[in-house]
Amino acid sequence: MACSAPSGAAVRPSSPPEDGRLSLRRSWIFTFLLLGTLSACGHPAASGTISLVDDAGDTVRLSHPAERVVSLIPATTELLFAIGAGPEVVGRTRFDDWPPSAASVPSVGDGLEPSVEAILSRRPDLVVLYRGAGTADAVARLHALGVPTLVVRTDRLADVPRIARLLGTATGHATGADSVAARFTRALDSVSVEPSAPPALRPSVLLLAWDDPPLTIGAGSFLDELVARAGGRNVFHDIAAASAPVSLEAIVARDPDVVLTFGADSSTLATRPEWRTVRAVRLGHFVVVHGSEFSQPSPRSPQAVAELRQALLRWERSR
């Protein structure tokens, strides 16, 4: 079995970055804006300045809503388009594929180990990055060059409305962001199974990301939340990390009702004797879901929950 369980900031290979062209006039405006931003540093907040605190705890000051945003996370790229800031997105990573119109935005390469030069070539006035070890260096370098950055984590469902609002404030699409956040929360609540629903309706689920060694999804990932809201119970919910390799015997002992995989079929596990010690594998209880709505938390997450719920119900009925 070879499958891919995406993390909050999944990255996938694609073609080399394309280049756009910038009119001379816009570059002059940009220069003035940059000078204006620089001169605003060190002064008390002037009127019209937007002040935000990002997930790294840094305060980000923008003299006006961002107009040229480079988004280095698929989740934030999707959110920017969702809140109406799509036209302001001038750069994305090569793995960002939603919405489809994002494909026309030039790619600046990798998101977790970003190329500062590629980013700068898009002349951004705001760069959104994932909070991680690889991006810390890029953040420092961008700051040294006077480019504001927003460092965020997009790992959990609660991050979706929160980051949406953050991005809304940064880009001047606060109302769009509010409506996305509200729609998201409503849709999520309406599609989620009550946590107090009887256990009989809550199958225990093994979220399997990889088989050699067995890799499961833990409570640190939004996928765990999706499963819970879809009415399932992650047998490894006690693992705090987003994912971890586990012993096959631990899987056997926790006896999941169903093996859930994201994007790849796992039924070949039944041919392996050591996996046949797992009851769900022996009985052929495999469920697979496809789609990039399972790659990151996003406004499509309520839809993802619904799909998962349908898949689990289909499996239950077929038993």
């Binding site: 586990v246 096959l248 050591e274």
Partner: protein, 323 residues
């Protein structure tokens, strides 16, 4: 004579018992015993179908790696040699990573790809290590191994870097090694496969003693030097390739165990090879127990444990032998 083997056998038995008794799931000794004798007991699947084959596979693989390490150390007359010397680490890793990156879906795709990668790398190293007249030049062999491994490793790294994050993680985890593939079927395959290369090396035990004196002296004392070198390269390559295919790259066992045995009972190979097999097996089984229990239910890659255990052990023995 039996007395000399007793400590080794005791260690092996302790390792086997630990491998059966301990794991991610807590079982009482009573439950373990009941599971061993009663196929229908509740914990029988865990003990009989997961832990027991894992113990046997651990012995097979740890033992094979240790024997390969000892034989290669004699071949290249270098105490730093390990089973992955002849380009194996690069070749195996590259084969596996290609399979993972290509999204290969067969249950045995990755192991077979690793095996093919290993064999291809060794064949290349062998070819590069041939001097005029078809003789193996061990120094050229050593250098060729380093070069081929490095080259393959570089390609592998490039593939990993260009892969999606989850494939990167998957490849990395596979490379770190683990006994998770253990089943009675994989044990049978590995055992059947390993018998011939192990016997081949055992048969050449005295020639390995002579080879340690240098090729000229070995020849003068009756060793058929070129065939011995060829057989050692082929046997260790095949054994290590199989071990890597089944359980990834487990380090330090092949390097450290032969030295521990030499320090305890001298370097003559008639005793060294079987003793290394037993001790290597025990060490891997015990490392696997730790890998499964220390952070249960999370399982550490066994290669991490063998390094964490093997290095201090080796350091202690080294200090003692130098004192």
């Amino acid at each position: 004579m039996m007395r000399r083997w007793l400590p080794l056998v005791v260690v092996a038995v302790i390792a086997a018992l630990a491998g059966l008794a301990f794991g991610a799931v807590r079982l009482s000794p009573g439950e373990v015993l009941r599971a061993l004798f009663d196929a229908s007991a509740a914990s029988a699947p865990i003990v009989r179908d997961l832990r027991a084959p894992r113990v046997v596979l651990g012995f097979l693989i740890g033992g094979s790696l240790a024997v390969c390490g000892a034989a290669l150390q004699a071949l290249v007359r270098n105490p730093l040699a390990d089973p992955y010397l002849l380009g194996l680490s690069g070749g195996a890793g590259l084969g596996a990573v290609i399979a993972i990156a290509a999204g290969a879906t067969g249950a045995w795709s990755v192991p077979v790809a690793a095996f093919i990668g290993t064999v291809a790398a060794v064949a290349l190293v062998y070819r590069l290590g041939l001097a005029a007249g078809g003789r193996i030049d061990t120094r050229a062999l050593l250098l060729a191994g380093v070069v081929v491994s490095g080259f393959a490793g570089a390609i592998m790294t490039a593939i990993i870097v260009l892969s999606p994050a989850e494939q990167l993680r998957d490849a990395f985890l596979w490379l770190l090694g683990g006994l998770g593939r253990a089943s009675w079927r994989s044990v049978a395959v590995m055992a059947a496969y390993a018998v011939l290369p192990l016997l081949l090396l055992a048969r050449r035990a005295r020639d390995l003693d002579l080879l340690s004196l240098g090729e000229e002296s070995a020849g003068h004392l009756g060793a058929d030097v070129e065939p011995v070198k060829r057989q050692v390269v082929v046997a260790t390559a095949l054994l290590t390739a199989a071990a890597v295919a089944v359980s990834g790259m487990i380090g330090f066992v092949g390097l450290v165990v032969p030295h521990i045995v030499r320090l305890a009972r001298g370097p003559l190979h008639r005793g060294l090879l079987p003793a290394a097999f037993i001790l290597g097996g025990a060490m891997l089984v015990l490392s696997d127990v730790l890998a499964r229990t220390v952070l249960a239910p999370v399982e550490l890659p066994v290669g991490v444990v063998t390094a964490l255990v093997g290095v201090p052990l080796f350091a202690i023995l080294l200090r003692r032998s130098l004192a």
